[in-house]
């Protein structure tokens, strides 16, 4: 494998790792969803 193949494969693996991390990490963001819509977000009050 030449340096170009190694670099390209590293980029692909790095991207996969970033996507996997972003999918797996718990979301800290509050959704803008309202209530009783069946979307799975519970209203706090």
């Amino acid at each position: 494998m030449d340096w170009q193949t190694i670099t390209a494969l590293s980029c692909v693996l790095g991207t996969l790792a970033v996507f996997a991390y972003r999918i797996a990490r718990p979301s800290g963001k509050k959704s803008g969803c309202g209530k009783s819509c069946g979307c799975g977000v519970e209203k706090k009050r």
Binding site: D2, W3, Q4, T5, T7, A8, L9, C11, V12, T15, L16, V18, F19, K29, K30, S31, G32, C33, G34, K35, S36, C37, G38, C39, G40, V41, K44, R45
Partner: protein, 630 residues
């Protein structure tokens, strides 16, 4: 001895949409924020800092514009949470500035009374007194202050008048909490408020005996007319569309050319290899393919800003309310769905202003069926093949129009069905929309907003699209083939093999494995289909898109099945077109839907439903067409 640093007091700005709240926030804090003339400009809490006349630092919160604190919509919910100190990482306000439009005092005071009822110290910013006085209203701020029990500051925020007086009102100690004396009837707070406001306005905001017709009233008699109003709406929307598609083509061509040149420059710098291919064919081509739509996005938001700022967008939403009701939606869904014709991403983001959670989810669900501009390269490739002629005839324009109508009508039908299935609202939701006076667009704010949106789009292209382009490149590159022929290399790749595996699935739609592969690649972004089909059928790309599409058409019209039958018949092309009208082939949209709907379940459900719908529709078209002898 160390002292604990004193936390600056927090002042929250609250008010109805379009009351000038964001203008006051900007004037107080020096921050630039979008100012619109349509409901829901601020959908998140903006934070800034200012100093009172004694030099004491104050945190200033700009809360989303809302009509009440009933927490029916996301913006009302955020406003209530911020005022009651329930919003994470945001301190409970020590003082609330209720911004009201003096020319619409009756309606705006409803929210101000609800804020006072929360037991927070308040100051009433009586904004747009010039507009109120021009309409003949005689205001008595001292009487208002006496009756409400809070300081009242007359203002013309747009002209910068009254800001100093408002800062004076932010001095320590803050005014005492006023008592909600109007709440006499424990059963109906709303009636109590309404009665109190009626009495208050008689005392402190007297109208002249004869109502004068303002310029806005005169314009509305035409623009909201049952017939001419619609003529005007269609004319305005046509002009917006025409401008987006015609003006945008110049910068789009420039971006396309610049990216092509950049790709060529990178190619000339490096030896052939995987990394060069990743940079040129994966990253530059992938990200560039999305960035090329930036001019359209910018133009769309420029027009939306113009229509909002001038006050016309509220009229459009008002007119469309009846049409939207047929789909189980309200006029507030009009703007998001209209925006989706350019790109579903801003359309989905614009649904935040919709009060009803169910209506919002339904709007998000059907928004990608509004034919976005990314579908156009595919339509431009396929439509001439159906008619067997070159690009640019009126018959092709008619088919293109039909495509837009088909997507829109289907979206409305599905919205109607889905809205019915989600059931009635837990709480009654009213479509309440301010019809503000017409005014000259605020160019500075519009341009800043356009730049914000444009930057958000570029950021998206630089993150999600960049990642997807890299992964897509890997799928079409590995495992590598010894062949120099790009078509054979693709057939040997993971994507090509997947295409081969799915051939039995796509064959009933009239496609072979090669077309299936091209369709698979286009699930990241629709426009990728054109370049994929070019690679698969070994077509050399040229600098001119029209010429490239013409070369692809020449090549694929000669392609055959192994038994010699033509692969791309007019019927196959219609089937392909139907698939592209309905399939959700845009991963960034799916990512935005997941964020806005608050659940990946909705995003995945939407993706599966739309793709399944596209498959079924395409299947029916091809099989019925074949039975009919096409």
């Amino acid at each position: 001895m160390s002292t604990v640093p004193e936390v600056p007091p927090t002042v929250a700005l609250v008010g109805n949409p379009n009351s000038g709240k964001s203008t006051i926030f900007n004037a107080l804090t020096g921050k630039n924020q979008r100012v619109g003339n349509f409901a829901g400009v601020t959908v998140e809490v903006k934070v800034g800092e200012t100093y009172n006349p004694h030099g004491k630092k104050l945190h200033v919160l700009d809360l989303p514009g809302c009509y009440s604190l009933r927490a029916n919509s996301p913006d009302e919910k955020i406003a209530l949470e911020a005022l009651t100190g329930q919003l994470p990482k945001t301190a409970k306000p020590d003082l609330v500035v209720c911004v009201v439009d003096a020319s619409n005092l009756e309606r705006h005071l409803q929210l101000a009374l609800q804020v006072i009822e929360l037991g927070l110290p308040c100051v009433l910013a009586l904004n747009m007194v010039d507009v109120a006085e021009k309409s003949g209203l005689r205001l008595d701020p001292a009487k208002l202050s006496e009756e409400l029990g809070i300081p009242v500051v007359p203002m013309q925020a747009k002209a910068g008048k009254g800001i100093t007086d408002l800062k004076q009102a932010l001095r320590h100690p803050f005014p005492p909490v006023s008592e909600a004396t109007w709440l006499a009837n424990a059963e109906s707070d709303e009636n109590d408020r309404r009665d109190f406001i009626a009495r208050l306005c008689e005392l402190a905001a007297r109208r002249p005996d004869s109502q004068q017709r303002t310029l806005s009233d005169k314009l509305d008699s035409f623009l909201l007319h049952p017939f001419f109003g619609w003529v005007a709406l269609v004319a305005v929307m046509f002009c917006v569309f025409w401008a987006i598609f015609s003006f945008a083509s110049i910068p789009m061509d420039l971006i396309d050319g610049a990216l092509g040149g950049f790709g060529g420059w990178v190619e000339s710098l490096m030896q052939p290899g995987d990394f060069r291919s990743l940079l040129v064919d994966g990253i530059i081509a992938g990200v560039g393919g999305v960035l090329v739509f930036l001019p359209q996005i910018i133009l769309l938001f420029l027009f939306i800003g113009l229509l909002e700022s001038s006050g016309y967008m509220s009229r459009a939403a008002f007119l469309m309310d009846g049409v939207m009701a047929k789909a189980g939606l309200s006029g507030k869904s009009f703007l998001p769905l209209f925006s989706s014709f350019a790109c579903a991403i801003p359309g989905v983001m614009a649904t935040r202003t919709i009060d009803s959670a169910k209506e919002r989810l339904v709007t998000i669900f059907v928004a990608p069926w509004m034919s976005c501009s990314a579908r156009l390269p595919v339509y431009f490739l396929v439509v001439p093949l159906i008619l067997g002629e070159k690009e640019g005839s009126w018959k092709q324009a008619l088919i293109l129009f039909g495509i837009y109508v088909l997507g829109t009508v289907t979206a409305f039908v599905v919205a109607r069905v889905l809205r019915g299935r989600l059931g009635p609202e837990a709480t009654t939701s009213h479509f309440m929309l301010e019809l503000p006076s017409y005014r000259m667009p605020q160019w500075g704010y519009i341009l800043r907003h356009v730049l914000d949106r444009g930057w958000a789009f570029v950021r998206k292209a630089g993150t999600v699209i960049l990642g997807l382009s890299i992964l897509l490149w890997a799928l079409v590159t590995y495992p590598k083939s010894d062949s120099e022929d790009p078509g054979e290399a693709l057939a040997h790749s993971a994507m090509g093999r997947i295409g081969e595996v799915i051939e039995p699935v796509v064959k009933p739609l009239g496609f072979d494995g090669r077309t299936g592969t091209a369709i698979l690649t286009s699930f990241a972004a629709r426009e990728v289909f054109v370049s994929s089909i070019g690679i698969i059928f070994s077509v050399e790309e040229t600098d001119d898109d029209v010429e490239t599409r013409s070369l692809i058409r020449d090549k694929i019209s000669k392609a055959t099945w192994p038994d010699g039958r033509p692969l791309f018949t007019p019927l196959t092309m219609v089937s392909l077109l139907v698939f592209f009208i309905y399939a959700l082939q845009c991963l960034p949209t799916t990512a935005v839907v997941a964020r806005e709907a608050g659940s990946w379940k909705w995003a995945i459900g939407q993706f599966v439903f739309m793709s399944g719908f596209a498959y079924l529709a395409s299947l029916i078209v091809f099989q019925v067409g074949r039975l009919m002898g096409f």
